[in-house]
Amino acid sequence: MPLFASTIYWHLPILLLVVSFVYSATRHDRWDRILKEAIGWIVRMTSFLGGLGLLLYVLSSQPKLWPYAVGLIAIGTVIYYAFTSNLLREKKVPQPTENPPQPK
């Protein structure tokens, strides 16, 4: 059966979008942070679900290729964690201290 023949999966994007935006909006009030976190969640969920779907599809259609499929997913997992963790990481700006050290 073709990968995209089952129409139920075409309804998933709305779930990803709504969950990402609503969850992110409950975390922050600033729109730049809301957008940044929402995009991070969209990327993470899409890549996780897509990778899992691809793995299952390869295993069901080409059973002999399972070592390649598992290897590919492992590499993909490392790349996507590296990407999303960088995307979500906040840049730390040094804050001025209220009581700077006094020269002796």
Partner: protein, 200 residues
């Protein structure tokens, strides 16, 4: 000179009225608080998802079933009252309930529609219309449920999942109206994770 003590974060002011408004209509509490764009985001996102889910389920996936003829439910040997027993047979409604006024028609139908025992279900071709609501959010008959699951694809199941997720997400929205966002603007997410300025 001793180092200055770290300042303790001020406790957050709670806004129960805004939380109640956000329960009634997702995002309404935020609009009242002046966070209009955010309120609109919640409203559009959650109502889109909820009614999209209802559409997937052919408008027959939000209801509260009258299960008084089914076996009693007991927790630690104590029987549940009828309403809780019905809820335990239709757990999905516990999630959908948090969509607020949008699911109140299901409650109206539950309390005002004659039960299947009080009417001749086998003989009737359609469920009895209940005033202005008609059969909207009325509990489907067993024959209808069998048809939905046998003659259609899995969209009916996906539909009620969407409505439940929309309701559960609205709990987060209610909390946002009650106590504000988890991370304050002036603090970083790292601080919130450590609990130094998190939710009240």
């Amino acid at each position: 000179m001793p180092p200055p003590l770290p300042s303790t974060p001020e406790p957050r002011k709670l806004d129960p009225f805004a939380a109640f408004l956000s329960y009634l209509v997702p995002g309404l509490g935020q609009v009242i608080q002046g966070r209009v764009a955010k309120g609109l985001l919640y409203f559009v996102c959650l109502y889109t998802m909820f009614f999209y889910g209802m559409w997937l389920g052919q408008w027959k996936n939000v209801w509260l079933q009258d299960c008084h003829k089914l076996p009693d439910m007991k927790i630690a040997g104590v029987g549940l009252p009828n309403a809780l027993k019905d809820l335990s047979y239709r757990k999905e409604f516990a999630g959908q309930f948090w969509m607020g006024a949008a699911v109140w028609p299901a409650l109206v139908q539950y309390f005002s529609t004659p039960t299947p025992d009080e009417r001749d279900v086998a003989a009737e071709k359609k469920r009895p219309a209940n005033g202005m609501l008609g059969t909207y959010m009325q509990a489907p008959t067993e024959a209808e449920l069998n048809d939905l699951q046998n003659k259609t694809d899995k969209r009916w199941d996906l539909g009620w999942v969407y409505t439940v997720i929309a309701g559960v997400l609205n709990i987060l929205v209610i909390y946002d109206a009650l106590a504000g966002p988890v991370v304050k603007d002036e603090e970083s997410p790292d601080d919130a994770a450590k609990g130094t300025g998190g939710a009240a």
